[in-house]
Assembly symmetry: C2
Homo-oligomer: 366 residues x 2
């Protein structure tokens, strides 16, 4: 992974304002990424967005269903990168919607997560104090002075961030680092890909995978609405993708086998029209093997997995190249992997990431 | 594990009232365990409690600190067991305090969790629909008719249950099964032992361990207040324990080495005065190895672990028999194991359970 386009010093200075943090009674300088031309990692169309942390360009609004547009404004997968030697970082921001769900805490739905990529390629994680209120605040205290690191700040999984400012002591260095989306891993999926129900943004399987593979990730996950739709496939095909995952089966139970097969073929064809050779991974519904003692759900999970299995074989029989299959069995969720039988906890998220990592490492270089 | 004291039919019938569930438009019969002499599993003093789902006897109130008493009224570790052939179970209940935390969802803080022990000794898990409101409701639909199973209903981890009723269709069989606490695994600990931050009650490490070992568990975990105190040790020594875990270090950072050593010796001596030979396990603070980049916390974690290490060796040097040590390294949490650097997610809970299981299986039979 390469840090791209380090912003010139004067731009940063122009966007800092000076004030005092109540947390540490220290004078801070604040940076608002949206007030610059800063480009978060994971944002496919940074120069075309309506709100600063949208995942789709403004023009998508007229093409996708209203609920897809709504969820595309939730900031999952977006990462703000910066370098600083500060021992204290204070972040304040405002989100648009409900802070939490019944089965997913505020720290995941609306929280931040801060990792540092160290110069040896390893990842450190930073714990925080936080306040969830009208303005949400995260306080990172007593940060160790690890040399030459780049911070990765993950944005909320299930909320729209309306504004956000990062504060560090005036005496500290601070350099924004533009996101790199070249050769991204693009993931089109459901609530599970969007991050439900990770305890914090860095524990979404998409985020874990990005860190492990040192690969930029563009998250195209829409809770309840990952349905292999043409307008979304068209958008995805525009991206500088190195690999594409299609993990939509958990939202396609109500469709017939013919419909699933047709949507899968259409999506693959649209991607292939612009990306003749990049690997495309097609996944089964992972929780098909959980014994929930719910006969109705269990049948539904098995049915959709049979459909996608046959659809994949049909694509292979048509000699579509570089397509790969991830089975529910390979993901291997158990009845301890989810909070509700559908949404992985951090344990299920790790299992998802393990399975994808194992498959992706076998796929020849892009 | 043996199901004890199956209640006589006439008691059950007396405690059912008949009404209609809005969920399934089916006539249900309701059972309120507290209106009988029902004994939940995991409740050490069932005949002495002030509220039906307290963990301490009423007489403890005058001996323990107020906050310890408050937390002892939270129902973590309590299990209501029953047999039924119902394909639908509806549970309604009221809790006293806040439904959720910022870093832990309602499903864990105030939710239920339903497992079934099948006749082959395996566990099945049942997913639910739920409503978190003034009266909380859980709906279990389309349950598979698995023969001869006993349901284990885990109560909320961080709330007091004021009343609770279980409803099944009038046509279904229903038999309460008293809890078995003979030779229990008694766990005295902190918020982590209490279950913070599992996504649902069955994913607390104490619950996972109980299922894996088929051993009744009595949870003496108090968030922020597991501090090896004499009144708590006195109470624990009264229990029909087969094994005792002391996992209090995460709440003892502010104590000196002398104080920690003294409290540990006192607790072990009190237990030994009534239980001359049962195994006692003493654990380090598990998250000492997480690199949070927070130098202050990191030092504090390491310090307390050095203290308990030396205190354990001192006990061994005094020839105290059947004491065992669980190191932070054996638990092996990483920076992906917790939601906040302190409280395990379901992933960290599994790692805790794995480490304890590995150790406990090596300890000779009680």
């Amino acid at each position: 992974m390469t840090d791209m386009s380090i912003r010139a010093g004067w731009v940063i200075i122009a966007c800092f304002c000076f004030c005092t943090s109540r947390g540490q009674q220290e004078t801070l300088k604040w940076w608002n990424p949206a007030a610059t031309h800063y480009k978060p990692e994971g944002q496919g169309w940074p120069s075309e967005v309506l709100y600063p942390y949208d995942r789709f360009p403004a023009r998508a609004k007229k093409n996708v269903r209203e609920v897809v547009w709504f969820k595309s404004q939730q900031s999952t997968g977006l990462i703000i990168k910066f370098r600083t030697d500060a021992t204290y970082i204070h972040i304040r921001y405002k989100v648009k919607d409900t802070l939490f769900f019944e089965h997913m805490p505020s720290t995941g739905v609306s929280g931040l997560d801060l990792y540092a990529l160290n110069k040896n390629g390893g990842w450190s994680w930073a714990g925080a104090d936080y306040i969830f209120a009208d303005t949400v605040q995260y306080f990172y205290n007593n940060l160790a002075p690890v040399g030459n690191k780049t911070y990765y700040l993950y944005l909320p999984l299930y909320n729209r961030v309306d504004w956000l400012e990062i504060g560090v002591p005036t005496t500290a260095s601070f350099t924004p680092v533009d996101g790199n989306d070249k050769g991204s891993l693009v993931i089109y999926g459901t609530s599970i890909a969007q991050g439900g129900c990770a305890s914090r943004p860095g524990m979404a399987w998409t985020a874990i995978l990005g860190r492990r593979l040192h690969m930029p990730v563009i998250n195209i996950g829409f809770s309840s609405n990952g349905q292999l739709e043409r307008p979304v496939a068209d958008l995805i095909s525009e991206l500088d993708a190195g690999m594409i995952i299609l993990d939509c089966m958990p939202n396609m139970h109500s469709f017939s086998e013919a419909e699933i097969t047709s949507r899968l073929e259409q999506t693959v064809n649209i991607i292939r029209s612009r990306h003749p050779l990049i690997p495309i991974i097609i996944a089964q519904h992972a929780d098909a093997n959980i014994n929930q003692m719910n006969t109705s759900l269990d049948k539904s999970f098995k049915k959709v997995n049979d459909f996608v299995d046959r659809a994949f074989k049909k694509l292979k029989s048509k000699s579509v190249q570089n397509i790969y299959f991830l089975s529910a069995a390979a993901i291997g969720l158990t009845n301890e992997s989810t909070v509700d039988g559908q949404h992985p906890s951090d344990l299920g998220m790790k299992q998802y990431a393990d399975a994808y990592e194992q498959l992706l490492k076998k796929i020849p270089a892009r």
